[in-house]
């Protein structure tokens, strides 16, 4: 048997376990709403509704041209991302058609890498769309916080992104709004990424892909992971 140096083994083990834990998911809490700094969830304002259909709103995830995205809880307690259309747009017939088309398009995409549509009401006074909630920061937030990804992480992420886009393309759609704020590494785990809501998804004959910033710019170039 080789020379045993227990102190060295212990130190190596300590360092390896610490490194292993650092790569673990941030473990979003299934019960209380994930809130606070870094979670991407802000509290509801005075003008925000408290309920939409059967969903109880918990916090704000973001706002865009179309509406506000809330973190909400289903009657069974499941967390969802609920997109609620802006009140100025609810009487706009052409917008309603566009929104209905987006929802129908989103429903046709299946895949583990996009947030699935759970429920929607495009006929409601204020139309809304509920998709699975993907906890954790977006790629943009992640990079702001941690700096450039290591090459191996970038490759894993790029491969997942390609799969997500393939799933969307196979459904005959074009994402049209892919950007780092829409990429969710998924609770700190760089491999469980998903694309959050596909704003303005349409048939691919109509529009060309608009990739605002190449994801590749966010990480340093390098070689693939050794496997």
């Amino acid at each position: 048997m080789s020379e045993v140096d227990p102190d060295d083994t212990a130190e190596r083990l300590r360092a390896a376990l610490t490194a292993r834990v650092a790569l673990m998911p941030t473990l979003p809490d299934p019960l209380p709403p994930p809130a606070g700094p870094g979670s991407g969830v802000r509290s509801l304002g005075d003008t925000d509704p408290r309920r939409v259909a059967d969903y109880q709103l918990v916090g704000r995830l973001g706002a865009g041209g179309m509406g506000v995205v809330y973190l909400a809880r289903s009657p069974g307690g499941r967390l969802v991302a609920l997109k609620v259309v802006r009140s100025e747009l609810r009487d706009d017939a052409s917008f309603r058609r566009r929104f209905a088309r987006e929802v129908a398009a989103a429903r046709t995409v299946h895949g583990a890498f996009t947030a699935p549509v759970l429920d929607a009401d495009v006929e409601a006074d204020t139309p809304w769309l509920a998709t699975a909630y993907v906890p954790g920061p977006s790629l943009a937030q992640w990079v702001d916080e941690h700096g450039p990804m290591r090459a191996a992480q970038g490759w894993v992420l790029g491969a997942g992104l390609a799969e997500a886009l393939t799933a969307i393309q196979q459904a005959g759609l074009v994402h049209r709004d892919l950007k780092p704020s829409k990429r969710h590494p998924g609770g700190g785990r760089p491999t469980g990424h998903r694309l959050r809501h596909r704003a303005g998804a349409r048939g691919r004959d109509h529009h060309r892909v608009r990739v605002r910033r190449r994801v590749a710019e966010l990480h340093s170039a390098g070689t693939g992971p050794r496997r």
Partner: protein, 182 residues
Amino acid sequence: MLEGTATRLRRLRARENAGGGADSAVSDLYSEHRVGLTRLALLLTDDEASAQDVVQDAFLGLYTAWPRLRSQDRALAYLRSAVLNGSRSMLRRRRTARGYVQPHEPNARSAESLAMLDAGHREVVEALGRIGQRQREVLVLRYWADLSEGEIAVATGLSRGAVKSTASRGRVALHREMAVSS
């Protein structure tokens, strides 16, 4: 009559206090230790979903066991051993389901995150998967959770002496496994 009512009221209040105490104490423990315990379970089971199940079960068990424990220190010791036991039976079930003994079978995601470890660290983590379950538990508690021998003894149900010898044999086994793979 009056006395009976008073007794009943006292009993009700006592039950309320016990319930309320359990609620807030378990919530405090949950928010403070959930992540650490889940990481412990993850290091032992190498599977995120299993780890979360193990920790949820441990807290459910804690809730029922609360009247017997009634102190934060003992509750934490209870949680640690519940996580160890839960992880162990999770691994046993996985082995039984496959019908053969597979000492270390990381799932796809864990394989991916292993690929992101530095080669040196990866070698150690993989070697850790090949040594005995008890030794792995003791080494993780000692060198990752930084528990004392006494705390490890409580969590594993081993004597202090056995903790010491398991840790030392574990280090030797780990060293040997690393030497084999390099």
